[in-house]
């Protein structure tokens, strides 16, 4: 996803002098082409995320669209107050980009697990929170954020779903994308773990005749409430899958909206992290398995939700 982001931004920067990309000294080799071609629109601010975000705000207030870049929680939680007080309160055009959502950097340990960022950032007034599921969505999201005023968070994953877009597909901030049609159950997800949702949906259809509607809810905020209401009304239940804590994440956002609207799905499951910090060591794939976020776990929950586990 990182490469898709930078490839898209490298295209956009050619015709948009407002763009400025700031990294906090991460992205080895990734920005070489961008920096060589557009040296005035690239900046390494050093290992200093608070200053990077303040700088970005100052630059945005002077008319630029600034992308701040680092990995895991460094561009978000490390400088959360700068995002809140500086960028967001001033409606500054700062796009915070983090590579390494969820367990992307699994084996590096909990400092590099971005597993609370959606909950924390979606609670900030006026922030747009985007977590794409595949590379097409990353490129579309990067482009769309340029036209989304104010402060945004773009959450990029190491993992990704295979290309699922079809000709004519439209990407819109705040609109969930139907990746696989179905009416038996809904699997709503965000981030690269969309790949797990699709694997599970495939098995559920083939072996259990359960046709899942798979939604890439790439925008956690503003949430596509209509798509969630349709899922609640038209399918047998909603299973939310996220590589993130269940507290306040995408599942929480969906539950809050539906309950408030009085649209109650027939069943509702939040699949995410529950048991404290993930201290097990391993790859993204391994940690998904350990913490119950792999395809077999999704299949088991889906069978339970549909009453076919008995």
């Amino acid at each position: 996803m990182r490469n898709a982001f930078i490839a898209e931004l490298t295209e956009l920067v050619v015709t948009d002098p407002r763009i400025l990309l700031i990294t906090a000294d991460l992205g080895f080799g990734v920005f070489d082409d961008f920096a060589r071609k557009h040296p005035r629109q690239f900046l390494n601010a050093g290992v200093a995320e608070q200053n990077m975000t303040g700088l970005a705000t100052g630059l945005a207030m002077e008319g630029r669209i600034v992308f701040t870049y680092s990995i895991a929680n460094f561009p978000s939680l490390r400088c959360l107050e700068q995002i809140r007080n500086d960028a967001a309160y001033h409606d500054a055009n700062v796009k915070v980009v983090s590579i390494g959502s969820g367990f992307s950097y699994g084996a590096l340990g909990i400092s590099h697990h971005a597993t609370e960022d959606i909950a924390i950032l979606r609670s900030l007034p006026s922030l747009t929170v985007v977590s794409p599921g595949d590379e097409w969505e990353v490129r579309q999201a990067t482009r769309a954020l340029l036209d989304t005023p104010g402060t945004c968070y773009l959450r990029l994953d190491k993992s990704k779903a295979p290309a699922t877009h079809k000709p004519g597909d439209v990407f819109q901030i705040g609109k969930a994308r139907l990746v696989r049609p179905g009416n038996d159950l809904t699997i709503a997800t965000c981030g690269g773990i969309l790949e797990v949702a699709l694997q599970a949906a495939e098995v559920l259809a083939r072996e259990h005749r359960i046709e899942c509607r798979v939604l890439s809810v790439h925008t956690a905020k503003p949430l596509d409430v209509e798509a969630m209401q349709s899922a609640a009304r038209e399918t047998g239940g909603i299973l939310v899958l996220e590589e993130h804590t269940v507290n306040g994440g995408l599942g929480g956002a969906i539950a809050e909206s539906l309950l408030e609207l009085g649209t109650i799905p027939r069943g509702f499951v939040r699949m995410g992290l529950r048991g404290g910090f993930a201290s097990a060591v391993g790859s993204q794939e391994y940690l998904r398995k350990i913490y119950g976020l792999d395809a077999p776990a999704v299949i088991a929950q889906a069978l339970k939700l549909s009453g076919k586990d008995r």
Partner: protein, 267 residues
Amino acid sequence: MDSIELARRIRKHALRMTSKGGSSHIGAVLSMADIVAVLYADVMDYDVAQPRWANRDRFILSKGHAGAGIYAALAESGFFAVERLDTHYQDGSLLSGHVSHKGIPGVEFSTGSLGHGLPVGTGMAYGAKLDQRGHRVYVLLSDGECDEGSNWEAILFAAHHKLDRLYAVIDYNKIQSLAKVEDTLALEPFVDKWVSFGWEVREVDGHDHARLKQVLDAPSASGKPVCVMAHTTKGKGVSFMENTVLWHYRTARGDEYDRALAELDKS
């Protein structure tokens, strides 16, 4: 209005505002009043008819707790009606205790949490440099807020990029929230720190208007960003508030208010 009269009015307004609304930080406003008055009366280029005029000099009050002083300076400089100051810190007012830009013409940037102003001002100065524009960026910091690491990130950055139109002005009154700076987290040798970080440092009596005008107005002689180390007296202008920790938070009421006002009237 000359800077001496503006400073006197800032002090009187701030005393009345903090007393009426019951807010803190009068000592911090009195400390910086001369710096702010010189900036608004004699140094900065701005246009009250167009607060967002592109070529204005930018001013950020990083020590946002002294917001009453900025509101007073802006009102007296013509950005909004002086009568609005009477609503400060009260229900329904636009003037919050820490400075906010929402609905207030002339406020460049909202602050209140310390250590935010300098990075943002640095971004503004970096942008101006990229665009080869000539306006200046002034950030007024307290000494206590230099405990914040974010400032030192910005100090490194501004020096590295030679942002010579950026002025960090330190209101160095040597007293912070609970105690003296040197008894809390020692900053000395403070000037040496800025010098070693690559800034051009100008030390000045922060209540001497003629000298303040000189050091705040003169362009960088070295191509480095400029640090104006303004030695000030916390609570300046009210004898019983001067150099005390107490008046960081205390609100002047009754007899205290009358005595303070009388002293400022005489000044």
